[in-house]
Amino acid sequence: MSDPVVRPIAPKAHGDHPPFLYGDYRSTVLRAPQKDLVRIVQTLSETTGPGPAWSEVSAEDADLTTNAGTGGMALGPRIIVTGSVLDQNGEPVPGTLVEIWQANAAGRYAHWSDSESSAPLDPNFLGMGQTVTDAQGVYRFTTIRPGPYPWRNHPNAWRPSHIHFSLMGPALGSRLVTQMYFEGDPMLGLDPIFNAVPSHSRGRMIAAYDHDVTEENWATGHRWDIVIRGRMATPTDPEVG
């Protein structure tokens, strides 16, 4: 039996990510681990991951304005969100699953626990989408711009418009769940979830309006690249006989 080559991925750039404990986001207080993470070597369990085997999607799910399957179209400003998935070396990551979920244009999620919301549901909008990046690492969704919505974190608290993104990537440690925000939103600076990210990297969560993506008489365009952990530039061969 030959041992497989273990190709480590780049270590997580912890300084670019939020801490576990961020007091202004109250839900972190009882859920953040208090002990330090234990650093381990990457074994085959960590240098592999579910991404390559978990990439079956239907083409309909790249269009959230119609994938409820009702024959009707979701209400709200129609938008196209597209960009590249890249690794830390700037290399595109093809074939990776991208899953998204979001509130409707009124700021309500189609989820049972959002039932206190005074905003209406949209029968033509599920708020979920899936796609797989193409050979150039590009993803593309058509959806509607989600509304901001109130939450109970602090008095008069509102989440700015955002879309949740989940990526599998090539290895276990590539796993990324993040949120995409919109350029110019005045509510960003008031949001503790956005602000939990160090100031130097917050801008990486903001999609830019892109007139080249905008389609005439159809939808406005927004460009957002996503960077996940990929293989180290120079793989280290294990010393095995």
Binding site: P4, A32, P50, W54, G90, W101, G127, V177
Partner: protein, 193 residues
Amino acid sequence: MASRGETPSQTVGPYFSIGLSGPDENVLVADEVQGERIRVRGRVLDGEGAPVGDALIEVWQANSLGRYRHPDDSRDDIALDEGFTGFGRAATIFETGQYLIDTIRPGPVPDPEGELQAPHLCLIVQARGLLNPLFTRLYFPDEAEANNHDLVLRMVPPERRSTLIASQEDGDPRVYRFDIRLSGEGEIVFFDV
């Protein structure tokens, strides 16, 4: 190629099941899959021991022969199972924080030094209030000898290793209990992978 900074992590929030959790994704096995059927169940708990009813647990594991369905696991002499990806998702129940995963006992996989690791499940835990994913492993209580030699477990301070070892439920040897205490007393070990 220019180097690029990582996109920052954000919480999955309370509504992730809209996008991330389909029905039956906590069942990894189909009839034709080889291996010993096991059930893993437990609760996700916060720093006060209260149930976390909006957590997502993702599992990644080798098949019963110890091979991963992934291009980097190129050991063609070990068969893959049709219908077994090795990936699953379980959301906790809102009222109780309980989760349940039906799968097969994974075979051992090699470590970078060429030794075999103890059988284990890789788990990723996410929830509202977690701004980053938490990585951990579940080991089996009936593999004491293999656990003692496991490269990753040996990197864990000895007094905390037991937090990564499931317990056997009385009466049924194929059911393992694994509680995931996120914070405070009994906090389990999470890894920087």
